[in-house]
Amino acid sequence: MNKILSVKNLTKRYRNGITALSNVSMEIEHGEFVAIIGSSGSGKSTLLRCINRLIQPTEGSVEFDGSDICKLSSAELKKIRRKIGMIFQHHNLVNSLTVIQNVLHGRLGYMRTIPAVLGLYSDSDRRKALDLLEQTGLNSFVTQRAGELSGGQQQRVGILRALMQNPMLMLCDEPIASLDPHSAKLVMGLIKQLTVERGITCIVNLHQVEAAVRYATRIIGLDHGNIVFDDTPDKLTDDIIRKIYGGNPHDLIIGGKMHEGTEAQELVS
């Protein structure tokens, strides 16, 4: 009734024949903070990207705020995407631009083409960006190049860029996977705080079970493209964790660090 997102029978087969998602269904309500956990290759990124159609699903439907994402024209899709903020593992900032320019990019979807390409942001947008930067302790980096910041700082800029979109839903793809424990805590805390304050629904892909248990109001476990768990964090037992991670103890012990290595290798090869 009060749901913001409804995914039905979602299947994604890549052209190389790999089935990344098979028949995934989930309903998410306004204000939920959902963590999706699962080992590397379980389909977390694919699921997240099907929601804003960065990846075209093979079958199934995604209903967001009353419209079927898979049936929208490309112009309608662009409009809807403004309402869905996204945060990435590698921040995905434009390193050669300043911090504030990167934050203001969140407004581009709302602007007319000419002012947008000339970077003529409105005063209220600038004000808002500066306020957010101050709130998150980045006010001394406003005119610094994004590439010169530390990983944790860059991720905070990424969060602010997404927030500038005034999103209803926030998609976070492993936002802390390449951060040190201290920055990871800071970034997760910030995502939680900023989205709760604004009543933004949040879906976060995570490797780390601890982080999921700590921050999420609901946890979804993915294994080989299937949902194998969907409940509150307190229902997540060791047995279930073992099931989610396919009985591979390495995933549990070494957690994020090991995955980072394997993912980096996948990217290189």
Partner: protein
């Protein structure tokens, strides 16, 4: 079972096959060109005496005309690079599969750019010289054609390799094509483009004097006329000037490139 065996056998002999091929090709080419590699050693003394007697001492002629020719050579290189930069910058967006409106157009642009790049500048100069005669315009056009090929290919590669993550972030904000290009992709690739431009200037300064020799004007033409008149001392002076010019530019552009890319 058979295939892997064959493969490993191939791998084993690969080095030897390559070595054999190199020997055959070098030997064949030498025989075909009737060039005796040992001639270098046999005729070393004539070569050295020519070098010492005729080229030394180098004479420097500081005539207004020569200095102007030097400027023309530099100007040709710069003008060709800058013009090519603008045109190639535009063409690269049509030529990269990641940004092009049409994949067929993209393939066409890449094919033409390859031809422009892979035919040596000297050959372009010669073709132009035969159809239009001597002049600085010929030198400029020859440099422009090869720069255009070179930069278009380099830019397309830069664009193809530009962080796909940034493109993804741009799409996720709901930005349209032009906003994505101007606000995300361009700022991401411009340092790379400028670095290629500087490298192209470096290349053009070098080939600008050579193109001059076959009719492109500038210092190359002056050098060629000295050689034709057997004024080897003066020619040597010009060669030294060209070398200094090339080295100076290389130092400057290398420095700037290092600073841009860091």
């Amino acid at each position: 079972m058979k295939e892997p065996k064959l493969k490993s056998l191939c791998r084993k002999f690969k080095k030897r096959i390559v070595l054999l091929a190199v020997i055959v090709i070098v030997g064949g080419a030498t025989w075909f060109a009737r060039f005796n590699p040992l001639a270098i050693f046999f005729e070393m003394d004539t070569f050295i005496s020519f070098f010492i007697k005729d080229f030394f001492p180098p004479q420097f002629v500081f005539q207004a005309e020569n200095i102007r020719a030097l400027f023309v050579t530099v100007a040709m290189a710069f003008a060709a690079s800058m013009t090519a930069f603008l045109i190639a910058g535009f063409l690269s967006f049509l030529g990269s599969d990641t940004t092009s409106p049409s994949l067929i157009l993209a393939r066409g642009i890449r094919a033409v750019a390859s031809v422009f790049r892979n035919v040596p500048t000297l050959v372009w100069a010669f073709i132009l010289f035969m159809s239009f005669g001597i002049g600085e315009t010929i030198g400029f056009l020859a440099l422009l054609i090869s720069s255009l090929g070179f930069l278009t290919r380099a830019f397309i590669e830069t664009l193809d390799a530009a962080a796909p993550e940034i493109r993804e972030a741009a799409v996720a904000t709901g930005a349209t094509y032009w906003k994505r290009v101007f606000c995300f992709i361009l700022p991401d690739i411009i340092p790379g483009y400028i670095s290629w431009l500087l490298y192209n200037v470096e290349l053009n300064i070098r080939s600008s004097s050579i193109v001059g020799m076959v009719g492109g004007g500038g210092i190359g033409l002056v050098l060629f006329s000295y050689i034709k008149m057997y004024r080897y001392g003066k020619a040597a002076g010009i060669i030294i000037q060209i070398a200094l010019l090339v080295i100076a530019f290389e130092c400057v552009t290398k420095n700037i490139r290092k600073r841009i890319l860091s």
